[in-house]
């Protein structure tokens, strides 16, 4: 394909699906990513297809699309008409789809009660509020996710219509590799995989290696449990990653790349493989792209469920078909990476920003964000929050804006307690720091980290010691075992946390926890071990009283740690039947006939025999 042909195909592509540009009158898209399907998008799509066929309207296009971002409101259907803002229908089912088909698609009457504005309660008197004006969307800015939930990800032409592969054409025909790298440096883009290393600088290291075999690797292992932005990009806009990797290949002098994807993401793998196949068929990958003499080929490798394989050196060993154990750095991958060759490795979201930067320029990208963190960041918002989903916000947005405005606050009138970022390597942000503008350096300064983008909200019912234990349990399980501080050290920390949650710890155990943590951080080989103690340290720092309550007073203030719950008798309900007293194996219950009994919690062994025996529901645990 030549650049002229690319442009011609873009114009033809626009006519094929954008309402008003060609013969399409209405375009209906159904969110068909993992989350949409899980929520029941399949019957919705089938109903729409059937009804529109029955109506005989061949100018209505019905398509699948990627994640629109509002997981809470799935299944989602959006209707595009010429010259209007799209209409967003939420929480759809087959019945509602039938109504929309008959009213809106057949007769142009919007079914207001199913629209997003009605669902969130933001729309006034029957108004059809566009998604872009809702609190969830207003403060977002979509760069990495710009095509997700908009185009059909399996359709190359739709990507082309959104200026797809124009950045590659621009770079190959009008820029030297050094210009591409300079643009990346000037943009200020930093790695979105967690570390935040400047992308342009990383590329310049590989580019500086003598010519010869070099590789480009995309990290799509997405190990943080509770983060799914990379999945959404691959499912919703796979060509953006393909194009970016080719750009990286051009800039660094590489002709071959690998994408390492979690096997748990079957739809992402499917869409990515199709994208690569279609790009090859169209001459956008392969030999002599755009007749410029530049060649680039791409392969997919599946991970197999080992968190440590997200670490860059482990990932490369895994691509080579071995046990994915990290190796010491240096040598850095830029010098000796995949198959021993110079390698550039970036995260999915990092790559998804690249075509936009090349196309619109470094200044455009750098105009958004803070002094040292440019552009936007995608967060997977989850936990105790009304609007769970995928949000892309300019760097510098505060946590309060994310939680209270975009996220809609905490459900059930509960109180915000903390937000966790950075997954098993990260930390928590307590309420007192909720107004911190989010960027790499601020998050590190307050004892958390950007991480890859998981943002889990916790309310007053969550116990921070239990959360720390949850993450540590994860790292104990995932430690590859290659080095002792991580393998044994995390187990020792876990034993102490177990003691704390069981009320068997003493204050000096807290000290021991700190010492172990420092030792593990200092002496582990790879990032997994070096960051494993973070969730514990961060919660200890932000919630010292909660730890103390467990250790000193043997209480779990949030009421989560089972062993610390105590049995009580409600005096008003107790009839004084003495049954509990007779059933208690350790004589912890005191009381006389027909008078309310009491439990001596210091003697109680929490066997629950009294509670099971009581016929009046007078015994509770709290």
């Amino acid at each position: 394909m030549t650049v002229q042909e690319l442009n011609a195909r873009r114009e033809a592509a626009k006519k094929s699906f954008i309402p008003g540009e060609g013969s399409v009158a209405l375009r209906v898209v159904v969110g068909y990513a993992t989350c949409g399907i899980a929520a029941g998008a399949r019957p919705v799509l089938e109903t729409l297809r059937k009804e529109v066929a029955a109506l005989g309207k061949t100018d209505i296009l019905i398509e699948e699309t990627g994640c629109i971002g509002m997981c809470q409101y799935e299944p989602i259907v959006e209707v595009y008409a010429p010259g209007q803002e799209k209409v967003t229908y939420v929480k759809m089912d087959a019945q509602k789809a039938l109504t929309v088909a008959h009213k809106h698609l057949a007769n142009g009457q919007v079914v207001q009660e199913y629209t997003i504005g009605a669902a969130t309660g933001e729309a006034r008197d029957g108004e059809v509020l566009p998604l872009s004006k809702t609190a969830f969307y207003r403060k977002q800015k979509r760069v990495a996710l710009r095509n997700c939930g908009v185009i059909d990800p399996e359709n190359l032409d739709q990507y082309l219509a959104m200026d797809g592969y124009q950045a590659l054409a621009k770079a190959l025909t009008a820029m030297q590799p050094a210009d591409v790298i300079q643009t990346m440096k000037d943009s200020g883009l930093r790695g979105r995989g967690g570390g935040g290393f400047p992308t342009g600088t990383k590329w310049s290291f590989t580019a500086a290696q003598p010519p010869g075999k070099k590789y480009v690797v995309c990290n799509a292992d997405e190990g943080d449990p509770g983060a799914f932005m990379d999945r959404s990009v691959l499912e919703g806009d796979p060509h953006a990653v393909v194009e970016a990797m080719a750009l990286c290949g051009y800039a660094t002098g590489s002709d071959e790349g690998y994408v390492y994807v979690r096997a748990e993401y079957p739809i992402a793998v499917l869409h990515l493989e199709k994208a690569i196949k279609d790009a090859k068929a169209a001459g956008l990958l392969g030999e002599d792209i755009f007749g410029t003499g530049f060649s680039f080929d791409l392969h997919v490798r599946l991970g197999a469920g080992a968190f440590v394989c997200g670490e860059e050196t482990a990932l490369m060993t895994s691509i080579e078909g071995k046990r994915g154990e990290p190796r010491p750095r240096p040598p850095y991958p830029a010098i000796k990476g995949l198959f021993g060759k110079p390698t550039t490795e970036n995260n999915v979201e990092t790559f998804a920003n690249v075509p936009q930067i090349i196309l619109n320029g470094a200044e455009w990208f750098a105009s958004v964000g803070t002094e040292r963190s440019k552009g936007t960041k995608v967060f997977a918002l989850g936990g105790k929050i009304k609007n769970t989903g995928l949000v892309e916000i300019p760097m510098g947005t505060t946590l309060r804006e994310i939680i209270e405005e975009i996220g809609g606050g905490i459900p059930n009138g509960k109180k915000f307690k903390a937000a966790q970022t950075g997954g098993p390597s990260g930390g928590c942000i307590p309420e007192s720091l909720i107004d911190t503008p989010i960027d790499y350096d601020n998050l590190t300064a307050i004892g958390s980290m950007m991480g890859s983008g998981g943002l889990i909200v916790m309310d007053e019912d969550n116990c921070m010691v239990d959360i720390a234990r949850f993450f540590l349990d994860f790292t104990v399980d995932e430690s590859c075992g290659k080095c002792t501080p991580c393998r044994i050290g995390t187990k020792r920390m876990m034993e102490i946390l177990d003691k704390i949650t069981e009320g068997k710890a003493e204050e000096k155990d807290l000290q021991k926890l700190q010492e172990l943590a420092a030792h593990i951080k200092e002496n582990s080989l790879c990032g997994l071990g070096q960051t494993a103690p973070n969730p514990v340290l961060a919660t200890m720092k932000a919630f010292p009283d909660e730890y103390l309550a467990h250790v000193k007073y043997k209480k779990c203030p949030a009421g989560v740690c089972k062993a610390l719950l105590n049995y009580f008798i409600i005096a008003e309900k107790c009839k004084g039947c003495t049954l509990c007293k007779r059933n208690c194996p350790v004589g912890a219950i005191d009381g006389t006939v027909k008078n309310p009994h009491t439990i001596d919690t210091s003697k109680c062994i929490k066997c629950g025999a009294c509670m099971a025996a009581c016929k009046f529901g007078a015994i509770i645990k709290k």
Binding site: A33, T34, C35, I37, A38, A39, M70, C71, Q72, E74, D224, P225, G226, A227, F228, R231, S232, A263, E264, Y265, R301, L302, G303, A304, G305, A306, S318, I319, E320, G321, K322, R323, G324, E325, F339, A380, G382, G383, K384, T388, G389, Q420, G423, G454, I456, V457, M458, N462, I467, F470, F471, F474, D477, E478, C480
Partner: protein, 170 residues
């Protein structure tokens, strides 16, 4: 990670073996494709019995200890067969903070098996997994390919009932 190794005798069919040999034949010149071959073998047999690992090692001309090393390193490779309806409960962060642990524990009680185990009749197996990308519906579990969301422990017996009826054991 400690893995449960199956004590159930291996029973592969000639068709399965032919499929596996075809997979091996197409990748045997590239040792870096070992994991790909193992992933395909697992989808043929449902798990990776020791006998299959021997076939892969021989076919790919890779020492058995390397194949075994890879199969025990990665969580995805199962050394025991799954039940007819494999249940996997998400214990990702979003699900955990919304009570997934209670769901997981209650399922163990209802099924009478622990994590990584299979019911004696081979109908259900149970495991924990991490984030299946449906955090908006947390807590979630999958039974086969079906996703169940917004779970509470008291909903589980009813869901299992459906499958038991299907198998005629209710």
């Amino acid at each position: 990670m400690v893995k449960k190794i199956s004590k159930i005798p291996f029973s592969g069919t000639p068709e399965q073996e032919a499929q596996l040999n075809a997979v091996i034949a197409s990748y045997k010149d590239d040792p870096s494709q070992l994991m790909t071959v193992m992933q395909k073998a697992q989808s043929i047999y449902g798990y990776l019995p020791f006998e299959v690992q021997v076939m892969i090692a021989d076919g790919m001309d890779i020492p058995l200890e390397k194949v075994y090393g890879v199969s025990t390193f990665y969580a995805q490779f199962a050394l025991s067969p799954a039940g007819k309806h494999p249940i996997s409960v998400c214990l990702g962060t979003a699900c955990y903070v919304k009570g997934a642990q209670a769901v997981f524990e209650h399922l163990q009680e209802l099924l009478g098996i622990g994590p990584g185990e299979c019911t004696p009749d081979g109908v259900f197996s149970l495991e924990a997994c991490r984030c299946i990308g449906a955090c908006g519906l947390a807590p979630v579990m999958m039974i086969g390919d079906e996703v169940y969301g917004n779970l509470k422990p008291d909903m589980l017996a009813g869901i299992l009932e459906k499958y038991k009826k299907m198998e005629g054991i209710a």
